[in-house]
């Protein structure tokens, strides 16, 4: 446990010692802020649109602002997470520090999990800072809080899955750019697979990494979605562990 914390601490220090964490935080906040503004503005406009007057009771913040906001955020994350995970293992190889880590009295699983937690903490910080938009919504409006909380749960599960895939990509190479490209590839494939299926219960639809967020934003915490994300995270971490171990055996 202490070893995981040691790894986590160093990774976080390293994120904030370079501009990378700050840049990612700023870019994410600006992007999600623009999308939030965009959805809120069109919601307000549609309040006065005569075409929407017939079903005014259906016009609510959850349906018109929060759900699309989380949907878009998930896509933004899909493009930003690989940038925070690409260095995790690739850089250790390049700097020869892998030799230090793997000759230290810590387990490979602890190293992998510590690195996962480091990226997850940065991701959680991104999400936490962007929560200010929803606080604004709460102060000036009255959105239903239940779906917001379940949406955050879904977002954290999705983020964990993206990080887990990115960590695996980082274990494949010592080049950070290659790691980022591979994780974009993996994530886009998992995204597009879902978009290409129209049936509700198709297997492809189930595989899609983004589709599962939808229920969470509606306020539904379904077992199948939770299990999907948790097994995605576990599988990514497991493959990373296997990859790191097998490279030593070669």
């Amino acid at each position: 446990m202490k070893a995981i914390f040691t790894i986590l601490k160093r990774e976080l220090k390293s994120y904030f010692a370079s501009p990378i964490a700050y840049i990612i935080l700023v870019v994410f906040l600006v992007l999600s802020g623009i999308f939030f503004f965009f959805y809120l503005e069109s919601f307000i406009r549609s309040q006065f649109d005569p075409r929407f007057q017939l079903f005014r009771e259906k016009l609510n913040l959850n349906e018109f602002v929060i759900r699309p906001y989380f949907g878009t955020t998930s896509v933004v994350l899909l493009f930003m997470i690989p940038l925070i995970t690409m260095r995790l293992i690739a850089e250790e190889r390049k700097n020869f520090t892998a030799e230090l880590l793997f000759t230290s009295p810590v387990r490979v699983s602890q190293i992998v999990f510590g690195k996962f937690l480091a990226s997850f903490s940065l991701f959680a910080l991104m999400v936490a800072l962007s929560a200010i938009y929803l606080v604004v919504l709460r102060v000036y409006g009255n959105p239903d809080l239940g779906p917001v909380l379940s949406a955050y749960l879904g977002l954290f599960l999705l983020g964990g899955s993206l990080i887990s895939a990115g960590l695996f990509a980082s274990s494949l190479t010592e080049n950070q750019i290659v790691a980022a490209v591979i994780s974009f590839g993996i994530l886009l494939v998992f995204w597009i697979l879902g978009a290409s299926s129209d049936a509700d219960n198709s297997i492809l639809g189930y595989i899609s990494i983004i589709n599962h967020l939808d229920n969470f934003t509606k306020g539904i915490i379904a077992l199948r979605d939770t299990i999907y994300y948790l097994s995605f995270i576990f599988f990514g971490l497991f493959l990373t562990y296997i990859m790191v171990e097998s490279q030593r055996w070669r």
């Binding site: 793997f102 230290s104 009295p105």
Partner: protein
């Protein structure tokens, strides 16, 4: 302290090390000598548990590196060929991380970090970023990293590579000062390094051990075989036979006319007698000097005979 038994490592068809066995006792400084590509780094990586062997076992402080890796690794300090440094950390921050990683706990942590910095002479750069420091400092931080948790076994892979002569001397002194309680294995292809720092030598070539000896015996071997070079101004034919008939002469070769290389048996000193013979026969002695074997000769001899 370290017991390497029948170690073999194959990469596909390439045999990096082949059935290597040796022991290092407590307090010894073992020089691991060999040309580049002989398998030194591979052996050290296996000893430290970075890569698993194809075959054979390694025990460090009585813990098997494959079966009890955590316990064994706690007792090892390792400086790889390229010092494993994080350029975005300060020296102090880095050593603090290492101490945590090596499970140095409690109050002793800070004093151990301070001691390691002091021994390696990096106290004055403790607040600086590692990325901004020179090669000499980086190498010393690498050594500080290896000793911070006060390990019983130190494994140093080419600790003086890429340093300037003054730094090399400093690092060697540092290594000498670290010996004593600790068991040290250090690899090098620089021979004088061995005479200066080690108590025992293992020479490895093409993955096999070709020589294993204490430094004292190695120096005897170096001095033991007496070879004399003489130069006379006499062109007579019979000289070679006459010298050969002297007691304790085992071999005489004529180099150029009037120049001979004489090998003696059992390291016997025949200079007096040889000189007397030459003078008595009036051959005109121009030059006589011993051809001492240097460590380089022994080294080249053992690795080249193995190669044939």
């Amino acid at each position: 302290m370290i017991e390497v038994k029948n170690l073999t490592k194959r990469y596909g068809n390439l045999v990096a090390i082949d059935n290597v066995s040796f022991r290092v006792e407590r307090g010894e400084v073992l020089g691991f000598l060999g040309p580049n590509g002989a398998g030194k780094t591979t052996t050290m990586r296996i000893i430290t548990g970075y890569i698993p062997p194809t075959d054979g076992t390694v025990r460090v402080a009585d813990f098997d590196i494959m079966e009890d890796p955590i316990k064994a690794k706690r007792r090892i300090g390792y400086l790889p060929e390229n010092p494993p440094l994080y350029n975005d950390m300060t020296v102090e921050g880095y050593l603090d991380f290492i101490a945590d990683l090596k499970k140095v706990v409690g109050k002793s942590k800070k004093s151990k970090i301070d001691l390691a910095m002091e021994r390696c002479g990096i106290t004055d750069v403790r607040k600086r970023l590692i990325g901004n420091l020179s090669k000499g400092y980086r190498q010393r931080i690498g050594i500080a990293q290896a000793i911070v948790h006060d390990p019983a076994v130190l494994v140093l892979d080419e600790p003086t590579i890429g340093l300037d002569p003054k730094q090399i001397i400093e690092i060697r002194q540092l290594i000498k000062s670290l010996a004593g309680e600790r068991t040290i294995v250090l690899s090098t292809h620089i021979l004088p390094e061995v005479t200066m720092t080690c108590t025992r030598v293992v020479i490895i070539n093409e993955g096999k051990i070709v020589l294993e000896e204490s430094l004292e015996k190695l120096s005897e071997r170096v001095e033991g075989a007496q070879v004399l070079f003489i130069k006379t101004n006499c062109r007579n034919d019979g000289i070679r036979e006459k010298i050969l008939s002297l007691p304790n002469v085992s071999h005489v070769t004529e180099n150029a006319s009037g120049e001979f290389i004489i090998q003696t048996k059992d390291a016997a000193d025949i200079r007096e007698e040889l000189a007397r013979t030459i003078v008595q026969n009036g051959w005109g002695l121009l030059e006589m000097r011993p051809l001492t074997h240097t460590l380089e000769d022994v080294f080249l001899k053992v690795i080249s005979t193995e190669g044939e």
